[in-house]
């Protein structure tokens, strides 16, 4: 499972960081950084919640 962020859509609301800080980090430059592009399967539920809660629909999960 791979985390895909559309950075053209992302507006750094940081909701994903609140849900899964192990994967997402919004830094003081107000940009989102993906800390772990290939998170372990145990993170799937949190990642799916981040996908659903992103106000910009900027996060997707790729299976490859």
């Amino acid at each position: 499972m791979r985390v895909v962020v559309d950075f053209d859509l992302c507006e750094s609301n940081a909701v994903c960081m609140g849900i899964a800080p192990e994967i997402f980090e919004v830094r003081d430059d107000d940009f989102l950084y993906v800390l772990d592009e290939n998170p372990p399967e145990s993170m799937r539920a949190k990642l799916e919640e981040a996908v659903q809660r992103c106000p910009k629909q900027a996060i997707a999960i790729a299976e490859d």
């Binding site: 750094s12 909701v15 809660r53 629909q57």
Partner: protein, 411 residues
């Protein structure tokens, strides 16, 4: 167990309820009813990107509308009455024909409608922003190169529309009845900061000013067309387009006499249950929050998702005989205006202590903490998303105000 779930309202809360029912074990029919003819869409862009750019409505569909959930989606259909004893909802279809749908479990998510300014029905050039149709109509008027836009109401929708109009290069007057905008949501001091953001972007901000009425002229086919807004201070502001953002009223009219308890929303218990087999979610649900010791009805985007999910789980718990979960998340929302991102976690009130703990209001980049009886009850950020999301956890914990401020200052 095969049973029929009916969801009234195909917007954010209703769709998340339907999605959760399907994902978490409901294998019977799920009927979703909504009077809007467009499929389920996301509302936040309606006052921002959708208004600023020529996006197709398909671009703002909700993800759940693209997902195959096996829903029986009936758009253009309005719920007109609820019969709790018969477990049925009366319907009116777009062509005027009547119908009835029976349910085993019911989710009510009919949300709210934009308040209109009295006496403006049928006046061309006057808009509200709540639906795709509203936003398309306003967008068409803005694209016709109006000279002046007057926005009535400096709440979040009014503020976003004002910012979008300035982004389109239009002259904007922002009229607010209260002495400070957003005072109820953010307190007087922070509301004043938000007003200053608009002034700095060239908006003519008129506070403590009511609207006495509109001036109109008949257009080519005799329809009244707005030309000016008459204000309570005796002045008149020329206007080609007027946008009214004075709040919403809940869509509970169809539930009058149903037996559900109504009081500015549907009165639910702490688990969003309104009656046996009936739950409510989204803007329409009023519930007691233990966290804030208040009766709450929250109109935020994320709360609609959380409420829809919780309401669906409440029904599933009822069917399975499981213990229900209390619904009491910390409200959170954002508002994008110009290059500023305003975010609020919690539920501050105008009488709370407000302390700026990071950055400064002069540079419009700051964090403000709200305290009540020694507890942290809210975090406001302007262009500080990381801080708000990290400090939201301290609101969840009901942290001590001083400790939370100390931690925020060290961030």
């Amino acid at each position: 167990m095969t049973s029929t779930a009916v969801v009234i309202g195909a917007s954010l809360a209703g769709m998340h309820a339907a999605r959760t029912l399907r994902h978490e074990g409901h294998d019977g029919d799920i009927v979703v009813i909504d009077p809007d003819h467009f499929a389920s869409y996301d509302r936040p862009p309606l006052s921002k990107q959708f208004l600023a750019e020529d996006l197709e409505p398909e671009r703002i569909l909700l993800p759940s509308a693209r997902e195959d959930l096996g829903l029986d989606l009936r758009l253009g259909t309005r719920a007109t009455a609820l019969d709790l004893a018969d477990r049925s909802v009366s319907l009116q279809h777009a062509d005027g024909t009547l119908g009835l749908v029976s349910y085993d479990s019911l989710v009510i998510a009919t949300g709210a409608s934009a308040r209109h300014l009295p006496g403006t029905a049928g006046v061309r050039g006057v808009h509200v922003v709540r639906t795709v149709a509203d936003s398309l109509a306003l967008r068409a008027d803005l694209a016709a190169q109006p000279r002046r836009v007057v926005v009535i109401g400096a709440g979040f929708i009014g503020g976003e529309v004002a910012a979008t109009c300035r982004g389109r290069g239009l002259e904007v007057t922002l009229v607010e009845a209260m002495p400070v905008p957003l005072e109820r949501a953010l307190g007087a001091e922070m509301g004043a900061v938000c007003a200053q953001v608009h002034r700095d972007h060239g908006v003519d901000v008129r506070l403590a000013t009511g609207v006495d009425g509109l001036e109109t002229t008949p257009d080519d086919d005799g329809t009244p067309l707005v030309t000016a807004v008459n204000l309570s201070d005796g002045t008149s502001v020329p206007a080609d387009v007027v946008v009214v953002g004075i709040g919403v009223q809940v869509n509970t009219g169809w539930l009058e006499g149903s037996g559900l308890a109504l009081d500015d929303g549907i009165l639910c218990d702490e688990t969003l249950l309104a009656a046996p087999g009936v739950v409510a979610a989204g803007d329409i649900a009023r519930y007691h929050s233990r966290r804030f010791d208040r009766s709450l009805r929250v109109e935020h985007w994320e709360h609609a998702i959380a409420g829809g999910e919780a309401a669906a789980r409440r029904l599933l718990a009822e069917q399975r005989g499981d213990a229900p979960e209390v619904f009491d998340p910390v409200p959170w929302f954002w508002s994008d205006q110009y290059d500023r991102k305003i975010q609020l976690a919690g539920r501050p009130e105008a009488t709370d202590v407000a302390r700026v703990v990071h950055g400064s209001t002069e540079e419009f980049r700051f964090v403000t903490m709200y305290g009540r009886a020694g507890r942290l009850v809210g975090v406001l950020g302007m262009n500080r998303p990381r801080h708000v999301i990290q400090l939201r956890g301290m609101v969840e914990e009901g942290a001590s105000f001083d400790e939370a401020c100390a931690r925020a200052e060290a961030m």
